[in-house]
C-alpha cells in the first residue's frame, strides 16, 4: 500500500487563495533549493532518474533521463534554459491550473532545482493567456522570490545565478508542443521543429534547453528533500509519485484529486467522481485528454499509470479523464474532437492539415445525416497517415487516437448514422 501523502496539494487552501512566500517557507519551502545547492548537478539528475519521475505533460518520459541529455561542464554551450510548459490546452485537462493558482512557489522552487541540475541561468514559465488568475499570482510569487534572494544573481546566497520570467502566450494548442513552444518563446509561429537535434542539445535560441510540465516540476522539490524511495512509496506501481487525476464530462462530481499513481479507473470514476449522473450509463472515457484512445467497460480495473494504460491500448496522457454517457452521441463527440484538432493544426505537415480537415468533414456530414457507405473506410485510411511517423509533431497522431478507438468500440453507432441517414441520439 502506498503512503497517503499528498505532496503536490499539501498547501492548497480550501478557499483557493495562494500561499505566499512566508507560508511556503514555514512549510519547508525552499529547503529543497538549499539542499540541492549542496549536491552535484549529476547527483540531482540521478536522484530524479531513481525516483522514476515520469513527465506529467502526457508523454511520460523519465525526467532525470531527459535532463541527462543536456551537455555539461566548462565546454557546454551557454546560456542554458529551463522552460516550464504551463500552456495546459489539452481538452479536458485542468490539473496544472490548480498548481499554478494555489502554490506558485512550489513550481518556482522546482524550476530553480532543475536549473541547478543542468546549470541553466535563465528560465521561462510559458503560460496560456486565459489563465489570468495564475498569471497574477505567478508575477507576485516571482517578485517575492526575487526579494528573498531565491532568484537573481545569487540563488539563496550561493554563486549560482538564475533569472526566471513569465511569458504569457497569445493562444494556440501548438504552443504546448515542446518545439512549437520554443518557437513561440522566440516570437515566431508555433510550428514544430525537426528532431533531432532535441531541445536539450539545441533548444531556445539554439542553446541547451529542458522543457518540463508544471506538475513534473512541482514534484522535484519533494524528491530532493525526501528522496527517491519515499517518492516511489507514494505509488501503487513502478512509476513513482502521486498523480493529479481528474474527471469531467458525464460524472456526478467532476473534480481533481491527488492520489497514488496507479489508482484504478474504477476508483476514480465510482468513488471520487461519484459515478454516473442519475439516469445515465457509462459508455467510455478518454483517460488523459482529447488525444488519448477510448477505454470502455472492460478496462475499468486498469491502473492509471504510464505502464498499464498502454497495455489497455491507450495512454495515461494528462490523467484527467473525459467521460461519455449512453445518451450522448459518440459520433458527435468525435466531430467535436476532430474539429478541435483540425482547427489547431498549424498547417506544417500535409497529413495533418489535409487529413484532419477531411476527417472533420466526414464526421460533420455523418452526424447531420449525410453519411455514405465507405466513410468509415475513408476515416480508417486517414488514421494511418495521421499516425506516428508521418508528421513533425504529435498533434496528428494524437488526433488519430480517439478516432481509431471510437471506430473500434462504437462502430455500430457510426454504421447506424450511415444506415438511418440521421443521428439516432437526436
Amino acid at each position: 500500500m502506498p503512503t497517503l501523502d499528498k505532496p503536490l496539494t499539501r498547501n492548497v487552501r480550501a478557499d483557493g487563495a495562494p500561499v505566499d512566500i512566508a507560508a511556503y517557507e514555514r512549510a519547508d519551502g525552499y529547503q529543497a533549493v538549499r539542499k540541492a545547492l549542496t549536491m552535484a548537478p549529476g547527483d540531482i539528475i540521478n536522484l530524479m532518474k531513481q525516483a522514476n519521475l515520469r513527465g506529467r505533460g502526457g508523454a511520460g518520459f523519465n525526467t532525470g533521463l531527459k535532463w541527462s541529455f543536456v551537455p555539461m561542464g566548462p565546454d557546454a554551450p551557454t546560456p542554458k534554459y529551463v522552460v516550464c510548459n504551463a500552456d495546459e490546452m489539452e481538452p479536458g485537462t485542468f490539473k496544472d491550473r490548480l498548481l499554478l493558482e494555489s502554490d506558485p512557489h512550489q513550481l518556482i522552487e522546482g524550476m530553480i532545482i532543475a536549473a541547478l541540475a543542468i546549470e541553466a541561468t535563465t528560465g521561462y514559465i510559458f503560460l496560456r493567456w486565459e489563465y489570468r488568475e495564475a498569471a497574477a499570482r505567478i508575477y507576485r510569487a516571482l517578485a517575492e522570490a526575487y526579494a528573498r534572494g531565491y532568484l537573481g544573481r545569487r540563488v539563496a546566497g550561493s554563486d549560482h545565478a538564475f533569472d526566471l520570467h513569465l511569458h504569457v502566450s497569445g493562444g494556440r494548442y501548438m504552443c504546448g508542443e515542446e518545439t512549437g513552444l520554443l518557437n513561440a518563446l522566440e516570437g515566431r509561429r508555433a510550428n514544430p521543429r525537426t528532431k533531432p537535434p532535441y531541445p536539450q542539445v539545441a533548444g531556445l535560441w539554439g542553446k541547451p534547453t529542458v522543457v518540463n510540465n508544471v506538475e513534473t516540476l512541482c514534484n522535484v522539490p519533494h524528491i530532493v528533500l525526501r528522496g527517491a524511495d519515499w517518492f516511489k512509496s507514494l505509488s501503487y506501481t513502478a512509476d513513482g509519485g502521486t498523480k493529479l487525476y481528474g474527471a469531467s464530462g458525464s460524472v456526478r462530481r467532476p473534480g481533481l484529486w491527488e492520489l497514488p499513481m496507479g489508482t484504478t479507473v474504477r476508483e476514480l470514476l465510482e468513488e471520487h467522481a461519484g459515478g454516473m449522473p442519475d439516469g445515465l450509463k457509462f459508455r467510455g472515457l478518454l483517460p488523459g485528454g482529447a488525444s488519448t484512445e477510448f477505454l470502455v467497460e472492460e478496462h475499468l480495473d486498469v491502473r492509471m499509470d504510464f505502464t498499464d494504460v498502454p497495455k489497455a491500448g491507450s495512454r495515461l496522457g494528462t490523467g484527467t479523464m473525459i467521460v461519455l454517457d449512453d445518451r450522448t452521441c459518440p459520433v458527435g463527440m468525435l466531430w467535436n474532437l476532430e474539429h478541435f484538432f483540425a482547427q489547431e493544426s498549424c498547417g506544417w505537415c500535409t497529413p495533418c492539415w489535409s487529413g484532419l480537415a477531411w476527417v472533420e468533414q466526414l464526421l460533420a456530414r455523418m452526424e447531420e445525416g449525410g453519411g455514405q457507405p465507405g466513410d468509415l473506410e475513408k476515416m480508417e485510411f486517414q488514421t494511418h497517415f495521421l499516425g506516428p511517423g508521418h508528421t513533425f509533431c504529435a498533434l496528428a497522431p494524437g488526433a488519430a487516437e480517439p478516432l481509431t478507438s471510437a471506430l473500434k468500440y462504437f462502430r455500430e453507432d457510426f454504421e447506424r448514422h450511415i444506415r438511418e441517414h440521421r443521428c439516432p441520439y437526436h
Partner: protein, 154 residues
C-alpha cells in the same frame, strides 16, 4: 505611431529576452490591450520598432488566435467549445448568448458592446460549461444565468 507608454512597456519586455524578435507577441498584445485590436498601421509601427519585417510580424499576429487583426467589441466573450463543455451542452449557452445578443461566433453587436468567439478548452472542465468575458472566467454557466453575467459588462 506607438505611444510613449506602449514603447516603454515594450522596452520593459525586451529586458527579459536576448533578442528583439522574441518580443513580437508581447508587443502585439501590449498594443492590443490599449487599442482593442491590431490595425495594419499598428502592425507596421511594431515591426519598425522591433526591427522585424511587417510581413513576418503579420505571420506571427495571424497565427495566434488571441491577437485580433479585426476590430472587436468593448468586451470579448470566449465560449469554450471543447469536448467536456460539449458533453455538458455548451451549445445551449451559445444559443442563449446568440438570442440575447443577436450575434453568432465571430460577430460583434451593433452597439459595439460584445464580440463572441469560440475558444478551445479553458481548463476548468470540472465546472463545465465555462466561458470568459475579458479577464473573467465564468463557471457552471446556465442558459438562464447568461443575462446576469452579461449585465456586469457595460
Amino acid at each position: 505611431m506607438l505611444t510613449v507608454e506602449e514603447r516603454h512597456e515594450i522596452e520593459e519586455e525586451l529586458k527579459r529576452y536576448p533578442d528583439r524578435h522574441a518580443v513580437t507577441i508581447d508587443a502585439l498584445k501590449i498594443v492590443q490591450r490599449r487599442r482593442g485590436w491590431v490595425t495594419d498601421e499598428a502592425l507596421r509601427d511594431v515591426a519598425d520598432f522591433l526591427g522585424v519585417s511587417a510581413h513576418d510580424l503579420d505571420g506571427v499576429a495571424t497565427f495566434y488566435n488571441l491577437i485580433y487583426r479585426q476590430p472587436v467589441g468593448r468586451h470579448v466573450i470566449l465560449v469554450c467549445d471543447s469536448v467536456s463543455c460539449w458533453i455538458r451542452r455548451y451549445d445551449r449557452i451559445r444559443e442563449a448568448l446568440g438570442t440575447r445578443l443577436g450575434i453568432g461566433f465571430g460577430e460583434t453587436t451593433s452597439d459595439g458592446r460584445f464580440t463572441m468567439l469560440p475558444i478551445v478548452c479553458l481548463g476548468a472542465c470540472d465546472h463545465a460549461p465555462v466561458l470568459m468575458i475579458d479577464q473573467d472566467l465564468h463557471r457552471d454557466v446556465t442558459p438562464d444565468g447568461v443575462e446576469e453575467i452579461l449585465a456586469k459588462y457595460d
